[in-house]
Amino acid sequence: MSGIAARDVVPTIAAVSDLSPAASDSASHAVVLDGISKSFPVRRTWGEMLRHPTLSPRAPVLQNISLAVADGEFFGLLGPNGAGKTTLFKTLATLVLPDSGTATVGGYDVVLDASKVRSVLAPVIADERSLYWRLTAFQNLELFAKLQGMRGPTVHKRVKDVLDVVGLSDTAEKIVAAFSSGMKQRLLIARALVAQPRVLLLDEPTRSLDPISARAFRTFLRDEISGRQGCTVLLATHSADEVLELCTRVAVLDRGRLLATGTTTSLARDLGEERYALFTRDAGHPALVAMVQRGVVGALTKRETEDGWERVDMELAGGMERASQIVATLVEQGVVIARFERVPLPLADLIDRIVRRSAEGASHA
């Protein structure tokens, strides 16, 4: 199997390290980051401060991040908590100043042209408390439309349009305090959309939603925001499934480092779609054993399920096409199969693999 590290990750990292705004044709890129680094002061105890009063230790949060996001792209930033996703977004939103490197949004520098950046970019601040809870949804959006420089009848028209887009027209006159978490999330998105931004930053937008609302919300993001509104969307999440479902390209961040960038297709193919669960009554069937011996399937683990069937977890290279061939072969040879499904790769495993393969790629190089 060809890993993402050997084929995609190492060259990608090399390529983005060389990227400069000028060289990367920033006109066609909505967002360009070039060597962005950021560290924050480490909070120390009183004892440490008295012992070492002159020290000012800092923790790196972003380390030399370079990447470019094309106009209209749905781009994912995948990483666990503390990876630096939120800091990266706040840097783009001009709310955090980088220590070094440059970042441009719509061609404007986030430090030198902060006000122009704010005219093309809108962060969806996921904190529900940042809404005005005693105002209605309409009044919240009306306020932000005016703060974004809209005047006269345009304000009401735009607010109505945006409420329609996020499906809150029926509750426009309800105060936000009476909203559910899902409705507040939609209102936060509406607040960002009211300014008609070219670039939308979404920081874990489904974290407080139940699974059904989260699925509906993802459909809304894909069809409406990215599709009909044509926004460039940067989505930060720790859900690999969310990225695979929504994004065309993805960057994997861990502890402030950019581990990989690539298309979600290659990420899914090389890292995500190789784990499967097979439910059978013949876990010891010779055909299955032979496949393991020949190395067709790998890392076989078995356990009995409550209803008497056995679950066999396996690694299988080659994507869904190859998986279907294996299932057909097993059935043909008499293995009774009740269910066969892809097992989503946990984010921690995915990052482990990228780190491991990146290291392997570097040692080969």
Binding site: K38, F40, P41, V61, T87, K90, A93, T94, L95, V96, L97, S115, R118, S119, A122, P123, I125, D127, R129, S130, Y132, R134, L135, Q139, E142, L143, F144, K146, L147, Q148, G149, R151, I175, R191, A195
Partner: protein, 268 residues
């Protein structure tokens, strides 16, 4: 300016949803005016000589002093309070993500407090007039101008306190210190020219912006003096405004940069 008005409108919409709070706030004015009226009546014979050149009526003297003091209180506390609340709720970050300028946002965040203070001041004055206060209405324009200058002279202290909130999450008691200094040395309760006040206290009072402000305000509102006749005090106030505002705005700009560098705009 329109951005500021939009924020003031939002604050009004929020506040009017707390109906009991609004009613109690208005009722408390009546409760405040009455004790002031009776206490001033009781003390009138003792203070009459020291306030002879400032209207001579202790009730009027106190009413004008209280009105100036509630504006000072609103000025020095509203900006740090609004910034602190904005950090705590995350609204500050949301506001700073918009295209609105920082001065517009600050004006909008505290504008409602000033409008509400003005409404309370008018009601306070009206109640006081019902109780027999005589004001020179012809001088009210000059009075409003002096009140605006008093507010402007105290904005730098508010900006410094807000800067400390932005950077270190504390006001370092600046609003309290200003309120105590203004109350004791600004001449709210007694005339700073009274013989009983020691010379060194009088010297300290020269550094309190409310002192010249109140002198000028009482001269115009209670004695009907013209603006030109109180010009020395007005110029002193303008001096405070010019000198302190540059420091205040610089402190706020640097604190905002510091918060952006340390990533603490939304961390309380």
């Amino acid at each position: 300016m329109r951005e500021a008005l939009a924020l003031i409108q939002a604050s009004w919409r929020t506040q009017r949803s707390y109906r009991v709070s609004i009613v109690l706030s208005i009722l408390s004015l009546g409760v405040t005016v009455l004790p002031v009226y009776f206490v001033s009546k009781a003390l009138q014979p003792y203070v009459a000589s020291s306030i002879a050149n400032q209207g001579g009526n202790y009730f009027g003297f106190l009413v004008v002093g209280f009105i100036a003091l509630i504006f000072v209180s609103t000025t020095v506390s509203s900006i740090p309070d609004a910034v602190g609340a904005g950090i705590g709720t995350g609204t500050l970050e949301a506001l700073l993500s918009t295209r609105a300028s920082i001065p517009s946002l600050l004006a909008g965040m505290v504008g409602y407090s000033f409008v509400w203070t003005a409404v309370k001041a008018i009601l306070f004055l009206a109640l006081a007039m019902v109780l027999g206060l005589h004001l020179s209405l012809a001088a009210s324009l000059s009075g409003i101008l002096i009140l605006v200058l008093i507010v402007l002279a105290h904005i730098p202290f508010a900006l410094m306190a807000a800067s400390l909130v932005l950077a270190f999450r504390t006001t370092a008691q600046i609003p309290s210190v200003i309120m105590i200094a203004s109350g004791l040395l600004g001449g709210v309760y007694w005339s700073m020219s009274a013989k009983i006040i020691p010379g060194w206290v009088h010297a300290m009072a020269n550094w309190v912006p409310l002192a010249p402000g109140l002198r000028a305000l009482r001269q115009t509102m209670l004695n009907g003096a013209s603006l030109s006749s109180v010009m020395p005090d007005v110029l002193l106030l303008v001096g405070f405004i010019v000198m302190l505002n540059a420091i205040g705005f610089l402190a706020f700009t640097e604190a905002l940069k510091y918060a952006r560098r340390t990533g603490t705009l939304a961390q309380y």
